[in-house]
Structures are given as C-alpha cells and as structure tokens.
Subunit: 296 residues, 2 copies
C-alpha cells in the first residue's frame, strides 16, 4: 500500500483542490475591491497548503469525505495566510518577498495589508461557523481549538515571544515555547480539527494530538534549517533572513546537523504515536516523512 | 416605568460589570507578558462599553439573565477594542491619544500593538465558542453573525472604504456604505446577538435588526458631529482628527445641523421598529436616546 502511494501526485491533487476552493471563498460583492484583491493576492500566491492538507488527510483517514472537511481546511489556510501578511509587515519581520512575489504591503500598502490580514482572520471563523453537516457541539469544539491555537495562547503569543527573543541567547525550553506556539499550535490544530469530523476514541484523539505536536516541531526545525542551508529560489523567500533578524533558531542553538537530527526524531515520535493507537494512514505517514525531506 | 429608570446609574452599573469581567478574560499564564499587558492596557482603558451593553440590554429585554449573555458581550468588546488598536496605528489613522491615554502602539510599539489586536480578535471567537448554555445551533449563528459583521463584509470592509474616501468628495450613498459597515455592523450585531439568546418571533428579530441598524448609523453620525463640535477633554481623543485626515464624514457632506437632525431621525426609526414589534424595553429605548444626547 505504502509503495503504491505517490505523495507528489497526492500533494499536487490536494493543492489544486484547495486552491480551486480558496478562489470563491469570498461570496457576494467584492467591495471595496482593493481589500478583496489584497486578500486574494496573498491567498492565491502559492504555498504548500500544508495545514489544510493535514486537516483533509486526517479526516480522510477516518473515512470522512474530503468535501465535508473542506471549509475547515480553508479556514486553517486563511489563518495561516493572515499570519504571513502581518508577519511580513515593516513593524514585524519587514520582508519584501514571499513565495517569490512581493509581500502584500509592498503591493497594496501597509494599511490595506493590515486590513487584509484582519479580514482573512475574521473570515476564517465565518467559514468554520457555516453549516458543515457535523454535530454542532463538535463544530464549536473546532472553533474553540482554532481560536486557541491561533490566538494569544498559540500563534500570536509565539510570534510575540519570537520577536522578544531576537538578538538574544536563550535556552532550549524557551525555543520550544516559541516554536510550539508560533508554528506548532496551528499545525497540530489542523490535525485535531480534521479528527473532530470523525467519531474517535480517546486514544485516537490523543495520538492525533501527539502526531500534530511532533510534526509541528519538526516543520519549524526544518524551516530554520532551510533558512540556513536552503536555496532562495526553491524557498521563494530570501534565504538567511533569520540570520539578518538575529532570530533565535534551532541552528543557532545547536547547529545544523543536530537540528536536522532532532527534526527526524520528532517525525519518528509522530509516527510512533499513530502506531500506538493503531491508526493506519499512508497520507499522514508520508506527509510526516516529507516534512524532513522537503527542500522548500 | 420610564420615569423611574435612571440611565446614568444603569450605564455605570453595566460598565462596572463588564469591566470586572474583562479583567479575567485571559485565563492561564500570561506569557509572553508584554502581549497580555498590551491587550489589557487597551481593554481596560475605559470607553462607554456600548456594544456589550447593548448585547446585555437586548438579552435582558427578553428575560435572559445577564450572566448568561456576558461571554458574548465580552467578545463584542474584544472585537471593538482590537479594531481601535489597529485603527490608531501609523499605517491607518496614526493617532497618539485614545480615551485620554497614549494609544497602544505609543506604549508598546507597533509590533506588539499589531499582535495585541490580532490576539484580541482571535480570542473573541474563543469566548463565543465556549460553552454558553444555549442551543448550539444558535451559538453558531452568533459566531456567524459576529464574523460577518466584523470581517470584510462588515467592519474591516468599512475601514478600508473609509481610508479610500479620505481627501475625496463622495455621495450620501457612499457615506452610508462606509458607516453602516465601519461602525453600524458591529453595533447591529451586538443587538442581534443579544436577541439570539432568546426565543423570538421573526417579527421581533426583524425589529432588532432595524433597531440595531438605525442606532448604529445614529452613533456614527454623532461621532462625526462630536469630532467637529465636541470637547477634546470629554471625548478623550483629539477633537478635529477627522478634519486633519480629511475623512469623508456627515458634517463634511451636509453640515453640522443636518447631521444631528439625521441622527435624531435614525433614533426615531429605531424606536418605531421596537414599537412595531411590541418590544417594550426601557433599556433599549433609553440607550437609543442617549446616542444622540451624548457629549462623549
């Protein structure tokens, strides 16, 4: 089964599906036009679509039709996309390039970029509160999870901690605090929310929590690794920008080699968690492996 | 009954109740501290608390205990508060003073102000998806309404349109587009969400929609009016800032006198809507009248 699974084709197909559904995510009249243009500019400028892909792959693992989980998957991508727009702004990382294209504020100006981020963030909750054909208690649990993972106890708190740690030395515990929130929480939420579509045992839910947390950490470690060892063209963003900002990263703390080793260990822990709960999922297995094998 | 109602005392009591409940709105550890300090700084720096007050007053009108509607009321204030932080930033209105105190970015810097706004916005949906003891379908409807009113079809779209209209002449229709979204949508949502706690007839719901829309418009007209005719000390913000930014406002379009007349007409329409559905509510009636009588 694993032999027959073509991850590249799977990822391509899912990316296309997600992008085809991101396009019409704003119904009705696009007024004021520049705001909708700006939101769509960032939303449709590529990316791996890892978070929605994980959400769909998890739902699919437990027999949920992909179409049913799509609105939740799109909501996750809207949150991710808003965080990139705000993160790139001059007050934050001041980046000019994202996925090989000028960043949102470079094209639309800071005011519109700020509002586009706010609009995407808010609209994610509109999508996730639309009728999904799932138990409403469970739908509320999805919204709880997403707002917790994206808010001050999750991504926003991680971004703040990340900024505070610039130009400083810190401990591994501090680094894990930053990364589990800045990137880990939303990746973990993508997996857990995908699982909330299905009737799972407590053991299965726990395994998804652990899988999500571990691949989230591995992803951020590899992001740091690629920022030093990667290729600007493949990354679509300026390689070495962590160094420029004196970000507190895994390579800075423990060097390139140990960073990659730790990322591999995390992926192994993720796979063990699935195994421990007897969750057989070629998609989740292959996506986890991809995270440490990726070059972008 | 109306004679015996002391609006001043009522508003003071509600303001205290809301503020006492805003204080512990972030549970758990406040890490990173500066982010939570920044969110609380803006959240607890006063204001009329009009939106949560309207939500509670509407729920109360239909016999719902105030405590039950509180989390929704707080969510509305978090959204309002985030919008002020982002709106004051240099990329937007570039204001130094808000409610008589330095604006958030003046105290915490732009990066933290940006993140504090993002955190408050996200956490509003955490509060509104927490167990509220209401029918879960209806709770999802509240989240739908809030995300629509606050997002690109509501407040965020209105802010963008407002920015685009600076230094320009426009029509009354354009002005109403801006104001119904920028301010009106969230005020209307406060009323409608308060009503969603109760079992209402279609006629009652329609009346609340109309009441909310009309007081929302009246509120913005009076805000514009006060910016020209008001008193900086009472307003707690720099009077004349619309003029400085060449904002497109009611006084600019039709002069001070007509602006106030129109605001009074809107309040009368709001009261007629309640009457038409036989909704007797001293609170909603008096709050509507206050909107055109206020000096801050």
């Amino acid at each position: 089964m694993t032999e027959a699974f073509d991850l590249g084709a799977y990822m391509e197909e899912r990316k296309n599906l997600i992008e085809a559904n991101l396009r019409p995510v704003f119904p009705g009249e696009d007024v004021p036009e520049v705001l909708f243009d700006s939101m769509r500019y960032s939303l449709l400028s590529g990316g791996k679509r890892l978070r929605p892909m994980l959400c769909l792959a998890t739902a699919e693992t437990f027999g949920i039709p992909v179409g049913k989980a799509l609105p939740a998957a799109l909501a996750l991508e809207l949150i991710h996309c808003y965080s990139l727009i705000h993160d790139d702004m001059p007050a934050m990382d001041d980046d000019d390039l994202r996925r090989g294209k000028p960043t949102n504020h470079k094209v639309y100006g800071e005011a519109t970029a700020l509002l586009a981020g706010d609009g995407l963030l808010t609209h994610a909750f509109y999508l996730l509160s639309s009728p999904l054909g799932v138990d409403t208690e469970r739908q509320l649990a999805m919204i709880q999870r997403l707002s917790h993972a994206a808010g001050p106890y999750g991504m926003v708190g991680g971004q703040q901690a990340d900024l505070l740690a610039e130009h400083k030395e810190g401990t591994l515990a501090e680094l894990e605090f930053i990364h589990s929130r800045k990137t880990g929480a939303l990746i973990q939420a993508a997996v857990v929310i995908g699982g909330l579509f299905a009737d799972l045992t407590a053991l299965q839910r726990q395994a998804l929590e652990s899988y999500g947390a571990n691949i989230g950490l591995a992803f951020q470690m590899m992001d740091d690794w690629l920022d030093v060892a990667g290729d600007t063209e493949k990354l679509g963003k300026t390689q070495g920008s962590d160094l420029r900002l004196e970000k507190f990263t895994y390579p800075r703390l423990m060097g390139l080699e140990k960073t990659k080793m730790r990322a591999i260990e995390s992926v192994n822990s993720a796979l063990s968690a699935l195994e421990g709960a007897k969750i057989e999922s070629v998609q989740l297995t292959e996506i986890a492996k991809f995270i440490v094998a990726r070059a972008f």
